[in-house]
Symmetry: C2
Subunit: 220 residues, 2 copies
DNA sequence: TAATGTGAAGACATTCACAGCG
DNA sequence: CGCTGTGAATGTCTTCACATTA
């Protein structure tokens, strides 16, 4: 069924590349570069120049023929497209090993994500300080969502409680979850879910290493 | 240039789905299920039954018409395909916040990845215990690769030193790296690299949340 | 001139639909 | 009968090639 309006649909992979363009552009900005060509951008990301241009033109015409893209201007456009031209309020749930690491991770703040509160269920942890936050009990979660205007939740809880915590989070009105527990969470439509399964990443490495001898016998 | 042999090439996305099939199959095994159909497997992963069957037949004919797939048997096949029918020896480099979390993460061992050694450059950390390992100085890395027969490295070091550490790791003969530092590492051909950029994941959530009002105006 | 933006072509991936089998 | 395996059709994404523009 074609869309009545004739706007081209955006390939699903484009938004992931936009994040990568942003990283390169931020590097270029730090290096004091004024402009960058699609070719140079592509070379740094092992893509083709045509793909860079096509990706960007899904959202507008940002380039100058004969010159390239103005670095600062394109950073602004990409941030606007990704929605990181504002600061999002994030809650971290789970203050164990991984949660502690995420709480102290600088990269979130740099890209416009402010951790506003940290939660845990363990009585041993509640009240302790973590990265400048006093760890709160999950009982306070729903109230905090409205008080702090929380947008997203980062879930770093044990697999056994992950679905229950997820349900609670969704019930409190959160519509975006970044899940680190190694299971497939069930969420209602309208709630955005991104999952990071660390073991799967190592499996992919294993797959690459195992199948390298098969080049030619079987292309991958 | 077509392959001289006429074996079908495998879509790049298939190996990632194989990891997901494996998780579901392991769940089914725990639940005591003997067999599973492509339809049921697909339903749990929000895929189509045809895709599950096609994915699996890239590697062989594992199903029984009228029955489905034998859970235990298919687990074995998928592990063999992914290369996790053996135990890989992994070194963790970087014993900071994220490194500590990864060191204690159970999921690696469960899928066949054994952390054999942990390294750091900080004199303050060397010698300390982390998840049953005495943290070693990076000077010992090259010797340990051969002594322990290390296969892969998980890099959880600060961005400033990541490329240098990576070069050292590659020089020591490691051919598979899982990188958590938020930069694009340069590695020679033949070295496999998987990157996990945590901030990018939150950006994807931001993109989804920001563009949801555009449904219809622009399909995603 | 040196680069973008873009329709058209090509490559790739998914879904369909049904033959064939247990 | 139910389910797999698979060629054919469809759909999606990437690359090509060039008109266009500052």
């Amino acid at each position: 069924v074609p869309d009545p309006r004739d706007l081209p649909s955006i390939p699903k992979t484009v938004s992931q590349r936009l994040s990568q363009y942003l990283r390169v552009l931020q590097d270029l900005q730090r290096a004091g570069e004024e402009t960058v060509s699609s070719r140079s951008l592509a070379a740094r990301l092992e893509l083709t120049a045509a793909q860079v241009r096509k990706d960007l033109t899904y959202f507008g015409q940002f380039g100058l023929p004969g010159v390239g893209y103005r670095v600062v201007g394109l950073i602004g456009e990409v941030r606007r497209i990704l929605g990181t031209d504002r600061t999002w309020s994030v809650a971290l749930i789970g203050a164990g090993n991984l949660g502690s690491a995420l709480a102290r991770y600088q990269g979130f703040a740099e890209q416009g994500f402010a951790v506003r509160a940290i939660f845990d269920c363990s009585v041993a942890l509640v009240g302790r300080d973590l990265a400048g936050h006093s760890i709160r009990h999950m009982d306070e979660f729903e109230a905090t969502v409205t008080d702090e205007g929380l947008d997203f939740v980062v879930l770093a809880v044990p697999i056994e409680v992950a679905q229950d915590v997820c349900d609670l989070v969704v019930g409190a009105g959160i519509r975006g979850i970044l899940n680190f527990a190694p299971l497939r969470l069930q969420v209602p439509t309208g709630v955005h879910l991104i999952a990071v399964d660390l073991a799967i990443q190592l499996e992919q490495l294993s797959f690459l290493a195992s199948s390298e001898g098969l080049d030619g016998e079987r292309r991958i």
